[in-house]
Symmetry: C2
Subunit: 129 residues, 2 copies
């Protein structure tokens, strides 16, 4: 949550500077079939999607982002983010990176994958420790 | 040169928006000792440094960057860029990425290294093909 707050501040600053349109995306990674039996919950994915919608709606209200600029996708995070970015023609993807390991910073695997696959600029926001 | 022009435009836009101070860095990678004998040139490094100063001065004039914000370093590119960034406390490193290989974009190894080691935000500018 603190991370989200930190990125929100950056995003708001960029929007303030540029007047750019902001889209929000949240990706729900599908669970393998056996996890349903194992966890004893019938529709985890449906539950996750419902919760994502609620969380994203809250964030969107905070950031004044209209419903058509909110994206909930189900699938591999990297592909879904890159796919939506390309479909709607974004100029900049903003994502956070965190996690210090020994002397060097380890990028989140999603941030890394986005960066390598993006056809647009990518701003990697270094999250505070 | 086209790449430089493309990044310059982005950097100027960011500076226009934010009023941020701009520093320029160019790193000369040291050559192994044997290359001197092999290439028959006595002071390649000195020559490279001299040329770097000239190129950077030209760019600095174009971007209105004063001499104390121009950095020529000799050593491993990644370490020098990260070192200067940390020493002078930059908020954002801007670097280019290019090179399409098959279906996915290959980041330059320098851009990649900077991104993984940076303690600040990194803007990776996707260079046009």
């Amino acid at each position: 949550m603190e991370d989200t707050h930190y990125i929100i501040k950056k995003v708001q600053a960029i929007r303030g500077f540029t007047g750019a349109k902001l889209s929000l995306i949240h990706v729900v990674e599908p669970l393998p079939g056996y996890s349903y039996a194992y966890l004893g919950i019938e529709d985890i994915e449906g539950q996750l999607i419902k919760e994502s919608h609620e969380a994203l709606a809250k964030l969107a209200a905070q950031l004044n982002v209209s419903l058509e600029d909110q994206w909930i996708e189900v699938g591999p995070t990297k592909l879904k983010i890159l796919g939506v970015a390309e479909n709607i023609g974004v100029d900049l993807i903003v994502c956070g990176s965190h996690g210090r390991h020994g002397l060097s910073l380890l990028l989140g695997s999603t941030a890394n994958a986005i960066l390598h696959g993006a056809k647009c600029d990518v701003l990697t926001v270094r999250l505070p420790e």
